[in-house]
Symmetry: C2
Subunit: 345 residues, 2 copies
């Protein structure tokens, strides 16, 4: 298994965990109320294929029911896609979430890594990517947008120019939009019948329910049908499937989240930029990637002070100088900045 | 997707559903209390590999931690096993739960069906099986014990004689013990380092929580390691992983369940046997398979009377004459018998 964020050591109750990208507003009371009411229904099987939730999502997004697939977390859909499509050659835009690589490797794919460069602040070089796409002709190109762990957002027009190249090459874009709700750009889900694209989205980071496992995928009917052929029955539990309409209707939670996000992204960006020994990369997600210009075990130093951050040594092309820092509540963010200044200034 | 039990039509609240094999005692209050308390922790990721729950189960069963794997329902482990082992040739003892066939087909296996015969009341003919095993030399033999949907239980000595043959053939037994808690025979989990065997067990039928998705698998360290190589991270949600010790410690629920089970199995067996137009097959599970000697749509007739039963047309070797009937609470069982007598006598 790959390494991931999350603090599971002793004192887990008192450690402030900046290593996971979970909305610090916590679980909405509407979700808690719904789940409390639903516990007594756990004596029934979930729908075998989460049809009602797919229907709800499709209507909400203006799609057809058979253009949506629900997952036991977005992660199930990464593995399911790889297994159903069995692409021969996959290009992954790195550094990024490392489960894409594991999933396509298990499906037997050959992998080509395309690197975002540090000197470009990890912004994707489109011309160079197009050149490599035409050279290697991968069956699938994998992009996470906004990207984890760099946080950078690609503009819609750039993605469309890539999709046009992929179309010529008879390739498909696998697009992970798990952090798109934080970004000023919209999802590409309206394009599934225009361009070769399959989109996944985690629903648990934004709504702060990663323990329940919930995500969805969107693609044309042919892709969804192929994936359903391989899908494990009842893979999404009843509680996860049940909260789909609850979270998607919760505009109050959404508004609060976006207010928190704008404030803390601005605050953390400003404060981190003030620290000379840190390079900060532009982010449109609920986390920042930073690089430290000092020979110091920053993770260890912060842990002594009750703070846990995500080191990036397991991300392709990154090393022990890089850390991913989630945005948390204002008080926690102030504490992190204070400790960072204390250690680095 | 395959067809399965469960009534999802209109009036689902008033229909008495005999088509799913769920403990009618319902969810234990201890489980409800634990889940209620745990909802606020859903803002944390589950353990990536459900290690704590595996550790608990292994200690409870006298095994090593790395001899246990947790699943998003036992069903995840059927598919995971097939994908990790990729057996070339699989023999399935039929009629049985049809997901085994789907799982190994998706893994590319060649399938040989070995039939339990109706004239033997679906008791397995061991000599004939051994002959076929030696003839076809499958990599994997799949047995469900007690078997779904026939209910029959194999004795431990018969399973061991089969395991000895499999050992000679360098084959492995995939044994589904999802209904073994109801049976007078014990699980074979103590044999995982003596014979080539991998065992799965659903935890949601007996404890009446199928909505939460929980099961486990037991095998030698080599098998578990292979499966973990393919396992999707965080596949078991926190609530499911968390209830493992709660349900396994709940001796009060267990005792109540076994009292209910003994009474209702006896009652239903006796009453069904009294109806001439029904053949009843011996069962050591919480359901009975029956065959109807009349040209009648029994499922449709019962549905008109508010009762839903499982037809068996999708089970290999069975047809529209066969139905699977779960044991429910006494009042519901009386109602079923009354309506059956009304329709058939």
């Amino acid at each position: 298994m790959n390494k991931h964020g999350g603090y599971y050591g002793k004192n887990a109750d008192t450690i402030i965990d900046f290593s996971v990208n979970i909305n610090p507003l916590g679980i909405s009371q509407r979700v808690i109320d719904y789940l409390t009411k639903s516990l007594n229904n756990l004596n029934k099987y979930p729908e075998i294929n989460s049809r009602s939730s797919c229907k709800y999502i499709s209507e909400k997004l203006g799609l057809k029911e058979n253009e949506v697939i629900l997952g036991n977390g977005a992660i199930e859909l990464i593995y399911l896609y790889a297994m159903a499509i069995k692409p021969q050659k996959v290009m992954i835009i790195q550094p990024t979430f490392n489960e894409y690589e594991r999933a396509v490797k298990l499906a037997g794919s050959e992998i080509i890594h395309f690197k975002r460069k540090e000197q470009d602040k990890f912004k994707l070089d489109i011309d160079s990517l197009v050149y490599e796409l035409k050279k290697y002709k991968p069956d699938i190109l994998i992009i996470c947008n906004p990207n984890n762990p760099t946080g950078g957002l690609m503009e819609k027009k750039d993605l469309i120019s890539i999709l046009e190249v992929l179309e010529q090459l008879d390739s498909t874009l696998f697009l992970d939009e798990s952090f798109i709700d934080f970004a000023p750009e919209n999802s590409l889900h309206q394009l599934i019948n225009i361009y070769p694209i399959f989109i996944i989205k985690s629903m648990t980071k934004y709504y702060a329910v990663p323990g329940i496992r919930l995500g969805y995928g969107i693609g044309n009917q042919e892709i969804i049908k192929k994936m359903n052929k391989y899908k494990i029955p009842w893979s999404v539990n009843s509680l996860a499937a049940g909260i789909v309409p609850i979270v998607m209707e919760d505009s109050n939670y959404h508004n609060k989240t976006m207010t928190w996000y704008r404030n803390e992204r601005e605050y953390m960006g400003r404060e981190l930029r003030k620290i000379d020994k840190i390079t900060l990369y532009p982010s449109c997600a609920n986390f920042y990637l930073i690089k430290i210009h000092e020979d110091i075990d920053l993770k260890g130093e912060l842990l002594k002070r009750g703070i846990f951050i995500r080191d990036c040594t397991d991300f392709y092309g990154l090393n022990e100088k890089y850390y991913r820092i989630a945005l948390k509540g204002h008080k926690d963010n102030i504490k992190l900045i204070k400790e960072l200044r204390d250690i680095l200034l």
